[in-house]
Symmetry: C4
Subunit: 267 residues, 4 copies
């Protein structure tokens, strides 16, 4: 086993003590660096600890750059790694600090490093969490069409209702333009309700009330979509050995090819 | 094939290159015209580009008018088209600009054009999305009775609670009349919570807390209604000739005994 | 058929033209009287139309009083009617106007008349809506225990979190007392968020963020309870003729007594 | 039966009249003491009744201390009691008053006593409520992995979106630092929407609108998770010897063929 293979096991895997130590240290470093960038934006904090913050940021960036280079060197297929989700994130996570040389303020984008923390599930072999996240994302992907239609309908409603409120309310109560009124309609329909813009006329409040009660019923739709998807996916856990169709956990025979299923309905 | 038939294929269908190009151009024109009307309402923008905005609005309106006339001419059954959902929308979408000659401000209603964008799903043959929207609207139609009862109950609660808060709070904290207090009750029960009206007395805040916690439980009802409707999609109408188990309409083999089913419904 | 029987058919039933006309007129009168009381609370409106509003209120109250007396006279079992839900509402709906002689402001309680509108479903024989409201209320009654436990847990959380925020925030940002902080906790946990009280310290905002994200997960619980109840109730529509057990629509034989069910799984 | 056994029956059980009376009195005392601490924080109330409130607080604390000692003395396994959930709560519930000698303000922590009220379900033998709370907490425990993944995803989104808004909005509209912007993102994504911080630039409002609509779809996820967990309660573990259909554990007869089932599990 040459040094590249050793490096690979330490950096990419978490089965050996060294590999595990590396991963935990990495997660810790990522967390700390994100936290420091956040604190840097707090002016009282920044004015007092500026040199230390700058030094820490550079230290972390250099560390992560070295780590990124080592990953490319040790990866079995460097190009595949560079093109993968985590490969791209690893690169993006170091760029902002260098970019700040040319464009001021861009170093704040290093918070994108927070996405690297997603690795925590994978590297620490938390199979349960990986499974859970797969179920959730599958349910979301499966309901993509329904959610798109729903969002399109919401978009239409929001444009028409926003314009209506603009015409009813006029500028005094904050409905100064159609885009702003649409922003209000989004704030209201999603039940966020900042209150920075609120209807003041009687007709405006009446229409707003109707929008809210409708929004109340509308909120039921995405919930229903995702729930029905999650409920369905939970039952179809009995995969046919013959044709790979997913069967209900209670089935004895595959509903697609009639093959006898191994009864896994105990779980 | 005469020119009317050719026109029909271009305007109403999207299978030929010309038809597809027409539809994409149409969607683009609709989107742009809606966007321009929105921007027109932003005063800084309007004062600078007024002549251009006016010109663009007229151009789009004339274009859409011509398109509407061509649709009537080329349609197989002109009257049926004019009476259909999209026929009515197509007409309403051009009226406001002309109406603005007589009544100022009405041209903003052209945002109704945004509804024409709904065509995007139909013309681009996005079967998946059409199916998804059918499932959602079916679920909503099926739960119409339940949602009506729910909304009626909410209406009753809101009237009684609003009046109660009016009597408790008095005018200082914004509860200046019963309709306004009802508006507050809607804002609170739907968890929008602008904060333009908020209880300031101890009893008022106590009652408001109860309303909110109840509203928290109430929000569960429409969600439950729609979800149970969406979940029910699978229908077990395929009875096994061997063991009499009811199977899902999509099954090929009985899920219980593995007997081949007579696959009648594929829905 | 004597006059009492005729009166009964007109007042209590809606099958004859006279009965239907009476019910529609009654609903109209109730709606109008509630609307007028609401408008009376709007000061500009009240100062202008005071005499008319007063006259109308008395007219409606006298009418409803006569109606109530006629109902008692014509009812088959007067005492049973007086003790029923609608009997009590009918009485309460006329009292406030008379009470206003002795205690000022009480006449606003006539909005309780709005509950009489619930009759609309019953008298107009809207069987579908009656069924829908029965399903919803059954689901709520069935999940009573679960919802109680949930509300008790919310109450506990709100008391402890409110106290914590009182100690963290102090009086400057509106957390002036524990009850007020608990009110804030309710406003936050239910996602209403007026903004009349909002944390201003860093630790306060941090704790508030945790409360909100938890509240986000908590909102799932009542929804889950009601949904699972509504989903269950929808399936158990096959009542056994032998033992009255409710069976799943897909069952062939009663799961309780083994009696053959009349297969109603088509619906 | 010695005095310790008698004491045990009175304090720990609720089957005898004395035991029941003790428990009811205890719940009443807990409720009163929590209420008094809350009222003490209301300055007008405190300045008037200070001596009485102080006296009451000490009286309750001494009473609860005696009760705690008696519980330890009479418990069958004192150490097991002290280590149990309620044992710890009982101790924590008396500490704050004593602690207030040394650290001012800490006596407010006695509101933790409210948790002792949870005993109400257990001691009054409300089996239905105990069952309900077991179902809810089981569903939450089972969906722990999914909810963790969901919260982790929310945390990531909130950090990145908050930073983005900080860069877009700048300090004028309240986005003074990244932590504060993240706080805003939490307030918005959870649809609380205080309005103490709200975007004022066009791009900021546009991004905020997208966040809200996404948050609207995201709220569906935890609801779906808990609902699908709660719905799953029925378990089909009772296999018919005649037709091999899987029946609900509570069935007496096979729902498919009417064959008598061997009723093993009654759960």
């Amino acid at each position: 086993m040459n040094w590249r293979e050793k490096l690979y096991i330490i950096i990419f895997e978490a089965d050996t003590p060294a590999g595990k130590a590396f991963d935990v240290a990495l997660l810790f470093a990522i967390g700390t660096s994100v936290l420091l960038v956040m604190l840097e934006s707090v002016s009282e904090f920044e004015s007092e600890y500026r040199p230390y913050l700058k030094a820490a940021e550079w230290m972390f960036t250099v560390l992560f750059t070295i780590e990124y280079i080592l990953r490319i060197i040790s990866a079995h297929k460097p190009l595949k790694y560079m093109g993968s989700f985590f490969g791209v994130i690893d690169l993006i996570a170091v760029i902002p600090t260098y970019l700040a040389f040319f464009i001021a303020g861009t170093h704040y984008f290093v918070v994108i490093r927070t996405l690297r923390l997603l690795r925590v599930f994978r590297i620490l072999k938390l199979a349960k969490y990986v499974g859970a996240s797969r179920i959730i994302s599958e349910a979301l992907v499966n309901s993509k069409a329904k959610i798109s239609v729903f969002l399109f309908a919401v978009l239409n409603s929001v444009i028409i209702l926003g314009t209506l409120m603009y015409l009813i309310e006029g500028s005094e109560s904050g409905f100064t333009s159609i885009p702003r009124s649409i922003y209000w309609a989004v704030v209201t329909l999603t039940t966020v309700g900042y209150g920075d813009i609120a209807p003041s006329t009687v007709i405006g409040q009446f229409l707003a009330s109707i929008i809210m009660i409708l929004g109340y019923a509308i909120i039921a739709v995405p919930t229903g979509i995702v729930t029905s998807e999650l409920t369905r996916s939970r039952n179809f856990t009995n995969i046919c050995a013959n044709c790979a169709t997913k069967n209900d956990a209670n089935n004895n025979y595959c509903s697609n090819c009639g093959n006898k299923l191994e009864n896994s309905s105990k779980s």
